[in-house]
């Protein structure tokens, strides 16, 4: 076991859904830089990210996270009925930031002219772009991204990659779970291979 002090650490964490163990005695130190989580469907990647984000009650073990986290899941996590701009303003003001940066960031993600439309009236990729813009607006030290490339076109994928890499270069901690994008492997400080709720470094 490494003793490096990380931004987030799990010690012997177990998660049980429906009396079935989904994460089994998992220990993990995550430090600044890029951490990649890989593994087949149903391995427990999403559950692991949610554990780190503190969104799943853990049945055993310990979780320690320093600083604020931003988790973006399979779904866009935007409130229907509100526009993309309103959703993001809310998040940034909730973190005590100004919401001046919101419109610019959304424009940067290609939502010019669409940011004042209710999010359920955007296309799947547009919704994902709006969600990803949070990374630039909320600027938290620990990013947890679940399949961030989904639904995006070529340009969107490049933008997400750049966004991940620049967050890493700023010294933030980025944890990404994704199936594709082998080009990230070389850039990752830590690669975890999950299977049936157990993770090993790869």
């Amino acid at each position: 076991m490494r003793t490096v002090q990380g931004d987030a650490s799990l010690r012997d964490v177990t998660v049980i859904f429906d009396d079935r163990p989904i994460i089994r005695g998992l220990s993990l130190e995550i430090t600044a830089g890029l951490t990649l989580i890989r593994g087949p469907n149903g391995a427990g990647k999403t559950t692991l990210l949610r554990v780190i984000a503190g969104m799943v009650p853990i049945a055993g073990g310990e979780r320690r996270v320093d600083g604020e986290t931003l988790y973006i899941g399979h779904r866009p996590m935007l409130l229907r009925g509100l526009t993309a701009r309103e959703n993001l303003s809310f998040y940034s003001r909730f973190r005590g930031l100004q919401d001046a940066a919101v419109a610019d960031a959304l424009r940067g993600w290609g939502l010019d002219g669409k940011m004042d439309r209710a999010v359920e009236r955007l296309s799947a990729g547009e919704r994902r772009r709006a969600a990803m813009a949070r990374v630039e607006i909320e600027r938290v030290p620990l990013l947890l991204l679940d399949e961030p490339f989904a639904d995006l076109d070529e340009g969107g994928i490049t933008r997400v990659r750049d966004c991940i890499l620049s967050a890493r270069d700023e010294g933030r901690t980025v944890v990404v779970a994704t199936h594709g994008h082998p080009e990230l492997d070389a850039l990752a400080a830590l690669r975890l291979l999950m299977n049936e709720g157990v993770a090993r470094a790869a």
Partner: protein, 219 residues
């Protein structure tokens, strides 16, 4: 505090865009009052006790409907998760929802109340007292219902569980509100005020309980 206000503002904005909860609740009460006078017959319905009782039952159901709707909207696309994952999100959630839903229900109660008064042609001895009773009666409803909705969040059959959990707890409040409202209608000012005081006490107790222990239950 500021965060609670933000959550409340977000809720009210979403509700203004898609006035699911509020319009449904108002219609619900209006139709109930209408049907009531139609089928029950105006003579019985005009009785202060009966009218007050039906009004508060309707309002309790309206609260349950509006609250469930509000959380259902949050569950779509996992928006609630994003809120809960924010720093201080868990704590702000309960307070923000209470504020927003109380505001909405006050509107619903005002419309429903005026409708009842007009359509049922009720006597109204003490309008100010009635307003106070309705105010505190409404304020006492959301904390209980929101706690129950949070406890049943994401469970199968939550639509069934919430009324089962909430209504028994609400019974004392509903009785108090009914007694208070009918006291105000018939002109018993001491009665109206003491019932209003009891309602206020209920509201305070549940709000404090909610703010302290509910955050633990939100995931």
């Amino acid at each position: 505090m500021n965060r609670i206000a933000l959550v409340a503002a977000r809720e009210l904005r979403a509700e203004r865009r898609q006035p699911d909860g509020i319009v449904a609740a108002t219609t619900f009460i209006a139709v109930l009052v209408l049907l009531e006078s139609l089928v029950v017959g105006p003579v019985i319905a005009r009785d202060a006790d009966v009218a007050a009782a039906l009004f508060w039952i309707a309002l309790a159901f309206a609260t349950i409907l509006t609250t469930m709707r509000s959380f259902d909207r949050e569950l779509e696309d996992d928006a609630l998760d994003a809120l809960v994952a924010l720093p201080g999100g868990r704590d702000a959630l309960f307070g923000g929802k209470v504020l927003a839903l109380t505001a909405m229900l006050l509107l619903v109660a005002a419309v429903g109340g005026i409708l009842s008064l007009v359509l049922l042609d009720l006597p109204l001895a003490l309008p100010i007292h009635l307003a106070i009773v309705v105010l505190f009666g409404v304020v006492a409803l959301p904390p209980v219902v929101i706690v129950d909705v949070i406890l049943a969040l994401r469970l199968r059959a939550r639509a069934a569980l919430v009324p089962i959990l909430a209504l028994p707890v609400l019974v004392p409040q509903l009785v108090a509100a009914t007694r208070g409202a009918s006291a105000a209608l018939v002109g018993d000012d001491v009665g109206a005020l003491s019932w209003a005081g009891l309602l206020f006490a209920f509201a305070v107790v549940y709000a404090v309980l909610g703010l302290t222990i509910v955050p633990a239950a939100i995931e």
